[in-house]
């Protein structure tokens, strides 16, 4: 269960998040929608522990563990996974080496035995199939020269490898064609389960036709201004964000 309470965060003294309350029970998929600049990606990065942002108030608990007390790698080990909107290319580090280091670091932290080469490769094979990812990509540098679709599939693949309990998908649909979108969504749906919660951040309703959310939130100016069922996404698709934005315009 992911519990965000009264979360305020700023970058370079400019407040971006202005008091977010959001609780996602295990087994649930929540969607966070909102216009550009509303703070959606900031929330994702703050959850993951990006030091560029300063949390000025509030708390984030994952299964009772205070994430704000943890470094990014510890949050990952504690069960948080954030799929990046723009996965970073890292020349010189192969995907396989990176992933094995990541998974064994996480397992070590969780006091699980490390995977040997055979176990690791078996798991890679199984999980790569979930997102129809060509395992040859794993011999390439991290995200190096991947197409947009490959990058996003690789993110979901990593998510499947690390078996998190809370998954944050930051605009995973951006830059995807319809086939890639379906593959990515299928991968996510296969991971849905009673012990896992999802926060799907998106600008468009499109992804939510494939990953059907239990709850939809609308973020405007760093605050959640509306919460509803999956129909709320359709309403936004039809009318756009403008009516909600003008309704909740921040007073100067």
């Amino acid at each position: 269960m992911l519990e965000i309470k009264n979360l305020h965060a700023s970058i370079d003294d400019t407040p971006i998040l202005r008091g977010i309350d959001l609780t996602i029970d295990n087994g649930q998929v929540h969607s966070l929608m909102g216009p550009n600049g509303s703070g959606k990606s900031t929330l994702a990065k703050v959850l993951a522990g990006d030091e560029a942002y300063e949390v000025t108030e509030g708390s984030i608990l994952l299964d009772g563990v205070d994430l704000l007390e943890l470094d990014p790698h510890e949050r990952s080990a504690a069960g948080l996974f954030m799929a990046f909107q723009y996965p970073v290319e890292i020349p010189g580090v192969t995907m396989k080496y990176f992933l094995r280091t990541a998974i064994n670091s996480v397992r070590k932290y969780r006091e699980q035995p490390e995977l040997d080469a055979y176990e690791f490769l078996s798991l890679v094979k199984e999980r790569a199939a979930m997102v129809e990812l060509d395992t040859d990509l794993l011999d390439r540098p991290v995200n190096g020269g991947f197409s947009g679709g490959e990058k996003k599939r690789a993110e979901i693949f990593q998510m499947a490898m690390l078996e998190p309990t809370a998954c944050i998908l930051d605009e995973t649909d951006s830059g995807l064609d319809i086939d890639a979108l379906r593959i990515v969504a299928d991968g996510v749906n296969k991971m849905r389960g009673d012990n896992r919660s999802f926060l799907v951040i998106t600008h468009y309703q499109r992804l939510l036709s494939y990953i059907v959310p239990d709850v939809v939130h609308v973020l405007v100016d760093g605050r959640i201004v509306r919460t509803g069922g999956k129909d709320l996404a359709l309403e936004l698709e039809e009318h756009g964000y403008a009516p909600i934005e003008s309704e909740h315009a921040v007073d100067a």
Partner: protein, 438 residues
Amino acid sequence: MSTMTTAPQTNLASRLQDIPEDAITSLRLKAHESMTTMGWPSMRDEAWRYTDTRTIAGTEFSSANADVTVELDQLEPYMLGHDMPRIVFVDGIHQPGLSTAKSSKGVQIDRLADVIANTPDRLKGRLAAHAEWSDDPANAFSTMMLTDGVMVEIAAGASMETPLHVIYLSSGGDQPISVHPRILVVAGDKSTGTVIETHAGNTDNTILNAPVTELIAGDDVNLDHYRMVREGSNTWHLGDLAMNQGDSSEVSSCVLAFDGPLIRSRMRATLAGEHGNAILHGLALGNGSRHVENLLRVNHMVPNCRSREEFKHVLDDKSSAAFTGRIYVAEGAQKTDAVQTNRNLVLTKYGKAIARPQLEIYADDVKCTHGATTGELDPEALFYLQARGVPTSAARGMLIQAFAGEILDDVRPQALREQAMILLRDRLPAAEHLALTD
């Protein structure tokens, strides 16, 4: 050039008198004369601006004690497997008991001492013909003291079956010593070969090591050279390398600077035949107060040649690195294609990197590019790795390794590449988190 101090020269001159006369006495005398004229370099000299040699200039060096004995297990950490043929020198003195290299068909491997004594004609127009000693006190000094070393002569059309490993181990003693390693490689037309030199010492004794290597390649040659520097904590390394290549030859040299308080590498490549390709690579790892100096010059003397220089410095603690690279394109050397890059990864706020690219071009249809960058680890890449569960120190290690890896990937002999990788990992702050295999 300025004269810094007379003390070492008096000392040096007397040392020359100790060397018996032989076939290269006149060369030594000329080198001595140059040395005396130039004086020991000071930081006022342009080529030595970033190399502090005051301690060296103030030290009286003597020659090594010939009685030093070294066992195989002391050599082991520096070897590249037991099978790679090697020639071993300890404090500049040849060790027949530790050496395994033998001449084979088309590949003549000799001690320079033997060549000087028995067949000095083989040295004519070769030894000290390309490595400029008249403008470099360290080389002049080394040449003045030259009595032994290795000569490799690859016959036309012949190939070295395995790389040759020349190990110069330093041990020193109570008195400061100087060592003057010399390697001369002559590669005939259409020949191939690889020569690796290691300069190493697990000692705190005061040592000046001034190696000079000359690579002379004919036409259609493929020759690779590597210099691994793992000197002791008080060993000053002032190295020189010269390569000269004929038509359609590819000659490469890579210097891997890992240990030692001062590692200076002067490298000079001369493309004397058309369609030649000169490759100069370097990787330096700086920690403590190490200073790494790379001083390069590529001479494009004829048209249609290519040169590639790529030097990377990883600077931790208070270490510093200076890169000076001159690309010289002679009049008429059209269609020259020269690329020079120097990238510095500075890990602390005390690390310091200096890059000085210099172009001297007398032809109009050429492509010469140079680029120098100095930066820290990419924070976005660091965060990405951390967000996937990789601890900060290991993530830093991975990125440093990736930076250095681009040079190490081009190190062709597997044993050397693996040794360099392990040395790199051992010296990174987060080594214990890193798995050794992919």
